[in-house]
Structure formats: structure tokens, C-alpha cells
């Protein structure tokens, strides 16, 4: 089973829920951090990384001895990533979406592919949890292929908990796609509600069941609860604002380690998710 933790708005507590849920379950569980722009789960779980692999995406390499400057590659490319100007071919690797079209259309067979570095994928373990994350190279714009690579390590024999990036655009959609259940972490504020509605919209487009965790549930108004009622969205957990929790988080500690009474609550959350799926 794949449970993806998402939110729309940033900073609502996605990583807190993902890491504490994984640690509470403890066995036959893997955590995949797909917020490749800003991966944070490792700061809380402190996994020992056993492998670091560079992740690349294919981009064209042009054999200038074979190229006749016919320009067909440039005509095909939708992303202006390859252009023929006179007797020169300019390839803009950072614009390339790796569709392979230029290579397929070249009548001279002058185009092959080489890898462009997107970032790294790191794998390790911590307290019985199999841990994986992607880290986008600073300056790199294209995160979906790296997210796809992280998700390719999901193990059907285990529970997979996926930490998603904020928002509702392509990186989030790529992350949510394989989920059996999306757990949306929100806060009862106007910003929280606005972005929650967008995230719920994303789960509807992908046709994946979802439920809510309301974090800092006593710091705001009642509108998120009213929205959940109207939309028939189950509220599976509420976390009150507690300065101790904020301080535990700030140090990079785990709530279930410092405040062990929370372990039962996260296990109850897991049971409720399973009940939603039956």
C-alpha cells in the first residue's frame, strides 16, 4: 500500500506526519521523500545512507560529422531545446524534456543521447525503516524525472509512505500518481483552507481517496472543519498547537520519541487509513 502525505500549502506538517507515522509503524515500512527541491525527512530520521547515485535525464548529443544542418530536429522540438542556425546546432540541455524526438527525426542518425545530471538519489536505513530521497541539484529546474526515479524504488511487499512537495503542479501530481491513499495535512487558517481545496482538487483529478490531518487545530477558525463536512472528507487526526511539539520539531527530534504518548495516536491514524480503504 502507498500512502502519500501532501498538503497544498507548505509548512503544515507533512514531514512531521510522514516521519512519525513511519517510525510508529516501524517494520515493513519504507519512506520515500519526494520533495526533491527541499527534502527534509532525513533531518528527523537521520538514516545511514548506504548508496548515493547520480540521476540523469537523456539529452541529445550531436555528431557534427554526420549532421547536414537540415533543421528537422529544431522544427520538431516543442521546447526550443535544439536549434539549427546556419552551420551550427545549438542544444540547450536545460530546456530539454528528454522526449527523444530529435533523435528519432534525424535522417542522418547524427543524434544520440547523453545524460544530464538532475540530482542524486540516496538510499539507506533507520530504525527498521527503508529510507530513500532525491535531492535536486541547486540551479536545476526539472524535478519530475527525479521524483519518478525515487518512486521507482517502491516495494509492494512493504507499506510505502511518500512525503510529497507542496503545491498542486507537476511535481505534486507526479508524486501522487501511484498513491492508494492521499493524506492531506492542513491547518485551520484561510491560507490552509485555500490550498487544501486545491490539493483536494488534485486528488479528484487523479481519482485517489483522501483524508485529512488538521495540524495546530486550535489555532485558526472553523472553516476547514466545515469544508471537510461539506465535502465529506474524513478528518483522521487532529494535532493541537503545543509549543513543546514546535520545539521538538525545531531541534530535528521526533515527536514519538520525546512524547511517547503520540505513538498510539499515529498507529490509530494508520488504522483509520486502512479502514478508509476497506
Amino acid at each position: 500500500m502507498i500512502i502519500t502525505i501532501a498538503s497544498g500549502k507548505g509548512g503544515t506538517g507533512k514531514t512531521t506526519v510522514a516521519t512519525n507515522l513511519a517510525l510508529s509503524i516501524g517494520t515493513k515500512v519504507q519512506l520515500l521523500d519526494c520533495d526533491v527541491e527541499q527534502p527534509n525527512a532525513h533531518l528527523f530520521l537521520n538514516p545511514v545512507f548506504e548508496r548515493t547515485d547520480t540521476v540523469t535525464t537523456p539529452v541529445p548529443e550531436i555528431d557534427m560529422d554526420k549532421c547536414t544542418f537540415c533543421g528537422k530536429c529544431g522544427e520538431l522540438c516543442e521546447f526550443k531545446a535544439i536549434v539549427v542556425v546556419g552551420e551550427t546546432v545549438l542544444a540547450f540541455d536545460e530546456l530539454c524534456h528528454s522526449c527523444g524526438g530529435c533523435m528519432a527525426v534525424c535522417p542522418e542518425g547524427a543524434i544520440t543521447e547523453k545524460g544530464r545530471e538532475l540530482g542524486v538519489l540516496q538510499r539507506g536505513h533507520c530504525n527498521g525503516i527503508e529510507f530513500m530521497h532525491g535531492k535536486l541539484r541547486v540551479g536545476e529546474a526539472m524535478s519530475p524525472p527525479l521524483i519518478k526515479e525515487v518512486l521507482s524504488y517502491r516495494d509492494p511487499a512493504k507499506l510505502t509512505i511518500v512525503d510529497a512537495p507542496p503545491g498542486t503542479s507537476c511535481p505534486v501530481i507526479e508524486t501522487m500518481k501511484p498513491a492508494d491513499f492521499v493524506l492531506l495535512v492542513t491547518e485551520p487558517t484561510p491560507f490552509g483552507l485555500n490550498d487544501l481545496k486545491l490539493a483536494v482538487g488534485a486528488t479528484k483529478i487523479l481519482d485517489i481517496p483522501c483524508g485529512l490531518v488538521i495540524n495546530r487545530c486550535d489555532m485558526g477558525d472553523e472553516k476547514v472543519n466545515a469544508y471537510a463536512d461539506d465535502e465529506n472528507l474524513p478528518i483522521l487526526m487532529e494535532i493541537p498547537f503545543d509549543r513543546r511539539i514546535a520545539e521538538v520539531y525545531s531541534r530535528g527530534d521526533m515527536i514519538v520519541d520525546v512524547m511517547p504518548e503520540w505513538k498510539a495516536k499515529f498507529l490509530e491514524l494508520y488504522e483509520k487509513i486502512k479502514a478508509q480503504l476497506n
Binding site: K9, Q38, E78, A104, T168, S169, C170, F191, A246, Y249
Partner: protein, 289 residues
Amino acid sequence: MKELIVISGKGGTGKTSLMAAFSSLAENKILCDADVDAADLHLIMDPKVVRRTEFQSGNTAAINKDMCTECGLCREMCRWDAISAVYEVNSIGCEGCGVCVHFCPEKAIDFPENTCGEWFVSDTRLGPMVHARLGIAEENSGKLVSLVRQEARKLAESKKLDLILTDGPPGVGCPVIASIGGASAVLIVTEPTVSGKHDMERVAQLAAHFKVPAMICVNKFDLNLEQTREIENYAEKKGIICLGRIPFDPIFTKAMIKVQTVFEYNGQSAVGEALRGTWQRLAEKLELG
């Protein structure tokens, strides 16, 4: 004219709340919301939309069933597995590369342009505002960010305004890169947590990579003084100006619920004092008149 982009690396550090508060202090400015994916500034600014324009970008393949002979070439060539066994294009999976359109021997694939969202020019009680809404699950957020910034600049020039105050997106990827290129400076709003510091360092590296001067302020600084000092030490080492510390205060949430900036909610708060000091130093560094 100066353009300041408020970013954070990590989401939820208080970018938009601080940006709204600065809107109460800055003069002769235009507001711009470049977080097109999960825009929130309008929830405080309550903009009256003056002009609304569709944002069109990219294309999606559509197979014409009457002409398709199900030869399978498109399915073989598509690197996103976006064409199903019954020859229907999954619009979410389609990257818009046009490879299937080009190679279809029957010319059976159309390639209409996408409407991915819309952008707005608005009036607010704190000045003009340019903002946008990217459709859920849409692509090309970077292009919409660039468009919103361009339009804000045009409007600022025509109205002879001194400052473009822009709310940026979280992260370090495509929309952030589109937000900061060529700006006068970025203000990184961070928080004293291990994740806040980690994400601040990455977005500071990004600003350095694109040669945009960075400044920093630590929001909710009193939640962890040790982390606050570590963040300020890091900034000092990297030549990033520390503008100030803002205390943790539920007043931000209370103001947000009332559709107000913190200054409109309460002109005398401790948070307000800290924000005034931060803004004054920022205005000096940006050499605002």
C-alpha cells in the same frame, strides 16, 4: 525601480504574512504574487480584479479515433506512457512533446494548445497587484511566473512606482528560478528549525548561483534561539545580510482570519515593532527613496 522577491526555501515560514505586513509599510509599490501554484496573498489583499487574461501554454495530444489505425507507433515512441491500449491520451501524463503528432503515419493526432490558468491585474487598498492562478495539475508554472513578473514591471513603469514587492514560491525548482532571475534582491524568510535552516541554505545557494543579492530574516525566532544563531552565523559567513528577528505570535493567524495585515489588525504589537525595524533596514539596503 527595484524588485524584491520574498522567498523561503521551506514552505510555511511566514513569507506571505510578512509580505502582506511589508505592504502596509512600503510606499509607491506594486504587489505581485509569483506563487502561482498555491497563491495566498489575495486572501489578505482582497483584490478587485480589473483585468483577467487566460494563460495559454503548451499543448496536449488528442487522437482522432476515426483516422487512427491502431498501428501502435505512438505508444511505442511516447516516453511518458501517456497513450492507453485503447488509444486514448492521458492528458495528465502527456508532456506535450509532440512526438506522437509528428510521427503518426495517418496524421490522426491533434495537438491543441492548453489553457493552463489565468492572470489578473487588480486594485487593492494597498496598491495595484498582479497575480495569477495556475490550474490544478497544470504545467508551465515557470512561464506563468515570468509572465506575472513582466506584467507587474510594465504596470509599475507606467504608474512610475519605485518598488515591485513580490511574494515568491517555496522550493528551489522551476517556479523559484523563474521568480528570482534578474531581481534587485531576494528576502529569505526562514524559521529556526533544522528544516528551515536546511532549506534556507539551498535557496541561498540558488540566489548565489543566479547572482541575486540575498537578505534574510528569521521568523518565529524565539522558538529555538540556538537555531536562530546558527542561521545568522551561516548568513554572516556567506555575506548575506541579516535584517532582523520576528517573534512567534498568533497575531499573524488572527490578522489573516480578519483579512488584514498585522499592522491593520493592531498598530502597536511587538511583532509590528520588529517588522518596522526589519523593513527600515531592508529599505536602506535597497536604497528606496
